[in-house]
């Protein structure tokens, strides 16, 4: 084998699912010792392609060559035999088992009739040191951090002799610190002669670590470029197919009077601890109020109290002067509050319902969708098709189940439904979580468009960039209270970070 032979070569891979072509004659080459990034939006077909390489799907057309030899990979064991290892986005580990037990699972070494964990543990220790993973072979999975669990997944592939490692969105679950460490590990792996395919939609990481980038859009390869010759804006443009600005375009806000007024709000969580301690808040018409804060300071309870999903102990929530504390979700929705929920799978959608049914999830009981107790499916379908078109939700049809859509398109569908209710107040909780740049831009533009129409928007996000870019006013939440308010053009990450950690800083005006 000479160095010019790719370790993995895909030739014209095509994979069709009912209603969509997930991969359309994709060709791809991975060379030894390289980190090759696979970039694409949610639903572009990256994961399908890698599942084909790992033997979970069969391609309808095309062929795969490993080290120049044509192969048929019809199950993951075959892939493992060929030296391919996959680090999944959602880890596949047995929580109460130790690291060693997890790694040897399925190929347990035996000494006589007994399990020989000792030799295995020694081998794991050795691998761990060789690649700088620093994993304790005897630690139990539920005792170690998410970052460590990911390293166990990496070790698992190495232990099985993988030379080609596929990382599927590896940084989605990691903290910034852990991301830096993962980058180090990946560099070490290629230095030791491994080859890596990195699936991601995060441009920063690609620029940081990869040698080559292949961009996929709607199932087709758009381009393959050397990372050194690319820039984030070029990549983003290729990925979404149009110019992407990272700065959100918006005019200055022209806020009107208070629409939503929250006074002395006290709310307990399910364990009975008080998590909102007399919170005060105003949102005016025509402005976006961003709530910045570290996760767990009462954001979830604030949203649940505002939308009627949890009980208010005391205090008032007024929408245009009307008291809504402890009203039912339906009363609140009908009064003019729309809600893009934090967890779209838990609250936003019924995954086994069709897109049509999901589009009328809150309005099904009204005319024209429901007449004398019977549903009018024609009216429902018409509404769904209108929203799907207006918000560019990519779905094979209005009858497709919500489950089979990509995360970005599911989120678009929810936003379409909520905005279409024409609310006075739009509550957006983590509206861009897990979305790619194109979808993030879309969501943020929609929020600003709502503001420009004179709606009051309440944005809750853990992404400081998003809060600073999108909001007209920022309120910082800490231990169940608003501890300060700043204007986005007069603040920065450091100041907000300090306020979020609980210190009141000059420049931050204490609310009330």
């Amino acid at each position: 084998m000479n160095s010019a032979t790719p370790v993995v070569e895909l030739k014209g891979i095509t994979k069709r699912f009912p209603g969509v072509v997930a991969n359309d004659s994709i060709s791809f080459k991975l060379f030894k010792g390289e980190i090759h990034a696979l970039l694409g939006e949610n639903g572009a077909g990256k994961s399908t392609l890698m599942n084909i390489v790992f033997g979970l799907y069969q391609p309808d057309e095309g062929s795969i060559e490993i080290n120049g030899e044509p192969v048929i990979i019809d199950n993951p064991n075959k892939a493992i035999d060929l030296g391919i290892g996959m680090v999944h986005q959602h880890f596949k580990l047995v929580e109460p088992f130790t690291v060693t037990e997890n790694i040897i699972l399925g190929m347990e070494p035996k000494k006589g009739s007994n399990l020989d964990t000792k030799t295995a543990a020694a081998r794991i220790q050795e691998l761990s040191e060789q690649y700088g993973l620093r994993v304790d072979p005897y630690a139990k999975i539920h005792d170690i951090s998410v970052g460590m669990q990911q390293r166990v997944e990496i070790l698992k592939t190495l232990y099985r002799g993988a030379d080609i490692l596929i990382f599927d969105e590896p940084t989605a679950v990691l903290t910034p610190q852990e991301i830096t460490e993962l980058m180090e590990i990946m560099r070490r792996l290629v230095a030791e002669g491994k080859s890596i395919i990195l699936i991601t939609h995060k441009l920063k990481e690609i620029m940081h670590i990869s040698n080559t980038v292949t961009i996929i859009r709607r199932g087709k390869v758009i381009d393959t470029v050397k990372t050194s010759e690319a820039s984030p804006s070029i990549l983003a443009e290729k990925m979404v197919g149009r110019n992407v600005t990272f700065k959100v375009d918006k005019r200055a806000a022209a806020p009107g009077g208070n629409v939503l007024e929250v006074r002395d709000l006290f709310v307990k969580n399910k364990e009975g601890a008080t998590v909102l301690n007399g919170l005060n808040l105003n949102v005016r018409a025509g402005e976006i109020l961003g709530i910045a804060g570290v996760d767990g300071n009462g954001q979830t309870q604030l949203i649940e109290a505002l939308t009627g999903l949890s009980k208010v102990e005391s205090g008032s929530i007024r929408l245009n002067g009307k008291e809504l504390a402890n009203a039912t979700p339906r009363q609140i929705s009908e009064s003019g509050i729309a809600h893009i929920p934090e967890d779209r799978h838990k609250h936003g959608l019924v995954l086994d319902f069709s897109m049509s049914e999901n589009m009328v999830l809150e309005t099904y009981y009204k005319e024209p969708y429901s007449k004398r107790g019977f549903l009018d499916y024609n009216a429902i379908k018409k509404q769904a098709q209108r929203l799907i078109q207006a918000f560019d939700v990519r779905t094979p049809s209005a009858e497709t189940k919500a489950r089979s859509l990509s995360g970005g398109n599911q989120q678009k569908a929810i936003i379409a439904r909520e905005i279409d209710k024409n609310p006075d107040v739009l509550i957006a909780a983590q509206p861009t979580r897990g979305l790619d740049v194109g979808a993030i831009e879309f969501v943020q533009t929609q929020l600003i468009a709502q503001r420009d129409q004179g709606k009051a928007v309440l944005l809750i996000s853990f992404e400081l960039d998003e809060i600073i870019n999108v909001s007209d006013r920022i309120a910082v939440i800490y231990e169940g209270q608003i501890v300060g308010e700043v204007l986005p053009e007069q603040t920065n990450d450091q100041e907000l970070g300090l306020m979020m950690a609980g210190s009141t800083v000059a420049g931050g005006v204490r609310h009330e």
């Binding site: 069709r16 999903l309 339906r330 019924v350 429901s370 107790g373 019977f374 549903l375």
Partner: protein
Amino acid sequence: MSKILKLFSGSGAISIIAIVLGLIVGAVVMLIGGYEPLLAYKSLFSQVFGNTYDFGETLREITPLILTGFAFAFAARAGLFNIGGEGQFIVGMTAASVIGIKVHGLPIYIHAPLAVIAGGLFGGIWAALVGYLKAKRGVNEVITSIMLNWIALYLANFIVRHFLLMEGKQRSEDILPTASVSFPWLSDLMDSARIHWGMLIAVLCSVFFYYFMWKTKQGFELRAVGNNPNAAQYAGMNVGRNVVKAMFISGIFAGLAGAFQILGVFHYQSIMSGSPGTGFDGIAVGLIGMNNPFGILLGALLFGTLTYGSAGMSFGAGVPPELIRIVIGSIIFFIAAQGIVRGIIKPFYFKRKKEKVL
């Protein structure tokens, strides 16, 4: 109509293959036991279709299975495991007996419907109790409905023994003729097989089930609650109320099944030493029919045919009738373990798909 077929076609293939596999397993067991499976199945079917009396009696066997199958499936669609069809069935029987025996002086067109409605209503209330406990107190419906099965059994026996007893017998008095839902004209045609109006109503219930669940606002809510209670709550639906409602309607089906057994078949109620089992069989029927109302009609048809025909198997081929329970058990196994069935049909399925693409 094409929509109805579509609703069913995906899972239909799996059911049919599971049935065939179940029959094969039964045949293998017969071979091991030294019986002749072909002769056995032949005598099973000739028992059912051999003469009009037996055919009518097979219909009689099928009817309560349809209704208890609906009782299980309706709750399942709303995300509830109603294992209490048995108790709801017994309560329905008892309510119908009380009205049928104790209420005098009503004309037939009032008395019989009243007894039927009482059976359905009390079955519904019995189940709604389970729903209420789940909605208000968070008690698991499996536990409460199993306990209510026993309470129903002994309550029914108590009522029969103290209020309805025929002197010196282990059974109630006969219901008044005005409470009977028998269909004498058709019964005479079928050599006095016990044909009753409940058969027609059971079939009509499938239409109700389908329309209610998939065409009405309330059905939409029930399905949303069943699939994702969090999203249902977010969308402004009252989850607790829907749980109670689903159980109530589910119980009505089981209660009706019980009422028709009394008013159309036996015309009296015995003191039971154990549960009659019809409610439990409904769970099996619901599983075979994949919780689809039309699937359940076919599932009950199969279950009833096999059960009634098993007597013929024992006459014709000497096979113990209990063996048919192995067949039914295997069918449910193959339906539950869908992976096996999918594995078997996969090659055929793929071939068909490919042709379509080209």
